[in-house]
């Protein structure tokens, strides 16, 4: 169909890239913000900012969690860490929504709920759309892998173009240079992220191995993966439940490091078992060791044999993606490379439109081209605005309000929808990109001020005085990003851009041939 291999790869790059670019942008922005999910969790829970120093009480937390999920068979408790001072509790009761709560580490009291930074993490891996969302994200990841590989093939001068950035001519050349620069700069990271992102959820959609090897029995498969066997139920209630605090102390001593989770299994049965999974923050693949305790006596029973080799490889690959290793410096690196990916995707969507300026003008807004332009402005300019709005909603909604976590999520969606509608309405007469980027910049600049007014104890000044760098970091980071969005809003108002977007002011285009020769590698259908 295409004449050469490179042309066919350009074809693949253009179309596989276009259909997935908006979903990928949402996944990328969600993932970039989720690099600091626990930090955002902390920022969004002001009740944790005034904690008195002292040891955590896992027993008090377990009591609260059992009260919330009386029929759950298994409870998970995550002890406080440097990144999150709360105790997190997780439980699942059949037929009820999954329980995921933050508890006060001193007395186990429930912290007012918020979607937290976890919102961006869920958005990142399933678009807040359950199992269907996991499949969609998996397909988007495959298309990203394809777009990256075909992008390398069509890009003849990878090294040379890396040093080429021509912002001044404006229009297509600048967008393409921006796309190439961010694409090449982040290429190793993006290839790694795309492949590891697809394989993380492979047990949801690549089930052939389990079908053949285990006749589709997922429970046996998971048991083989974890390298642990479960205690046999004795069908009588336990005499008592051992102290989780003592078990946690013992586990930390035996591991010589932090515990990621305490898992309480068979909680209503005499076979109750408590296991402590090591955090393993110094390893890319995360914790390998799992200590097992008797749930009634609290005595140490032994250590599991650990995961099989291939699964350890999987854990290494997914660990590269999930970035729970290496501390804040690595998370910042991932955050910045993720932001680079967002720019790569945003410029790509813009290149597609700029290359088709004449068709866009001829077809008008009620066409496929109009749809692409609407999606571009709605997703690329709308989602950052909605994301900042989520932080605003967190502070502005009263903390004692029932169902406030759901209202935070609704305000995120409502702002995104409004931003998209505004963007689409302004496409014909106006500067939608300037409006939305400008609003985002204003909300980012005003974030520390709003925070200081609504939660004086959590303000930037107060957190600097308290040397609470996690809390101060969120407010302080809002300012340079505000500057960045202000710059984006400013370049969106330049006359050159306007001329390309508004047919009434379109300059005579004798430059079609020039722009064709400027792009030898990428063909236009």
């Amino acid at each position: 169909m295409r004449n050469t291999f490179r042309q066919s790869m350009a074809w693949l790059h253009t179309w596989a890239g276009l259909i997935v670019s908006w979903v990928l942008f949402a996944i990328f922005l969600g993932g970039t913000l989720a690099c600091f999910d626990k930090e955002l969790d902390y920022w969004m829970r002001p009740a944790l900012h005034q904690l008195k120093p002292g040891p955590p009480s896992m027993d008090a937390a377990a009591k609260t969690l059992r009260g919330m999920a009386p029929n759950a068979e298994t409870l998970y408790l995550r002890p406080p860490s440097d990144r999150d001072p709360s105790i997190r509790g997780f439980a699942f009761e059949p037929g009820k929504p999954y329980i995921d709560v933050a508890l006060n580490p001193r007395d186990g009291a429930l912290i007012p709920p918020t979607v937290g930074g976890n919102f961006f993490f869920v958005l990142h891996y399933n678009l807040q759309a359950g199992t269907l969302g996991i499949y969609l994200v998996g397909l988007a990841g495959m298309l990203m892998l394809l777009a990256l590989i075909s992008g390398v093939i069509i890009h003849r001068r990878v090294f040379k173009d890396f040093f080429v950035f021509r912002p001044r001519p404006g229009g297509q050349r600048a967008w393409l240079d921006g796309h190439n620069l961010t694409g090449v700069l982040g290429l190793p990271f993006h290839l790694m992220i795309a492949y590891t992102g697809v394989i993380i959820m492979m047990s949801s959609y690549m089930t052939a191995g389990v079908q053949i090897g285990y006749r589709g029995d997922m429970a046996r498969y998971y048991e083989a993966l974890s390298g642990t066997s479960h205690a046999v139920e004795q069908h009588r209630p336990p005499r008592r439940v051992a102290s989780l605090d003592k078990i946690l102390d013992d586990a930390v001593q035996r591991l010589g490091g932090a515990v990621e989770y305490l898992e309480i299994e068979h909680i209503h049965d005499a076979s109750i078992t408590i296991s402590a999974l090591s955090a393993g923050n110094d390893e890319v693949a995360g914790g390998r060791r799992n200590l097992i305790y008797d749930g009634t006596e609290g005595s140490f029973r032994g250590e599991n044999e650990g995961p099989p080799t291939a699964y350890r490889t999987y854990q290494f690959l997914s660990g590269l993606h999930r970035v729970q290793f290496g501390g804040a410096a690595i998370r910042w690196l991932y955050f910045l490379l993720g932001a680079t990916g967002c720019v790569m995707l945003a410029t790509a969507a813009q290149v597609w439109i700029e290359k088709r300026t004449r068709q866009v003008e001829a077809a008008g807004l009620r066409s496929g081209y109009g749809l692409v332009r609407a999606l571009n402005v709605g997703v690329i300019a709308g989602m950052p605005l909605a994301s900042v709005s989520l932080l605003w909603a967190n502070r502005l909604l009263p903390y004692e309000l029932a169902g406030r976590a759901g209202m935070e999520a609704q305000s995120f969606c409502a702002i995104w929808l409004l931003a998209t509608i505004w963007g689409v309405l302004r496409l014909r007469h106006g500067k939608p990109w300037r409006d939305l980027f400008g609003t985002t910049a204003a909300l980012l600049f005003a974030l520390p001020l709003m925070n200081a007014l609504t939660q004086p104890h959590s303000s930037l000044l107060a957190s600097i005085i308290a040397r609470d760098w996690v809390l101060a970091g969120i407010d302080a980071t809002a300012l340079p990003f505000g500057l960045g969005f202000a710059w984006l809003a400013w370049i969106s108002t330049r006359p050159r851009q306007l001329a390309r977007r508004d047919p009434r002011m379109a300059p005579p285009r004798s430059s079609v041939a020039r722009s064709e020769t400027a792009l030898p590698a990428v063909e236009t259908p």
Partner: protein, 109 residues
């Protein structure tokens, strides 16, 4: 196929319905056909890889996404729709049948 002229705008605007169909066909082949071949390859690798069962299952699943990527690139490089589709269906089908026939061997510990 796409370069058929349509009046004076022939250089840049020849997006015919046939061209759109061709793009859609390739993308479906890359995603659905590619998934089929990847799934079949994971099934067959679970049977043939020389390691213990849990390691075979995990390794086969990890490798299947590499297979999918290579297949999808081949799909777009194929000269026409026939050459794009038949190797997918034949290759995927043969691997699935082989994996099913030797499925008991695939369950060895």
């Amino acid at each position: 196929m796409s370069e058929t002229s349509s009046g004076h705008l022939k250089r840049r605007t020849a997006v015919t319905p046939i061209y759109r169909l061709a793009v859609a066909s390739r993308i479906i082949a890359a995603l659905v056909g590619g998934y089929l071949v990847a799934y079949a390859s994971a099934a067959l690798l679970t049977v043939v890889l020389p390691m213990s069962r849990i390691n075979r299952v995990v390794t086969a699943s990890l490798l299947s996404f590499v297979v999918w990527t290579v297949v999808a690139i081949g799909v777009f490089a194929a000269r026409n729709a026939w050459r794009c589709w038949w190797p997918l269906l034949a290759g995927g089908g043969v691997m699935l049948v082989l994996a099913f026939v030797f499925r008991n061997y695939g369950m060895r510990p």
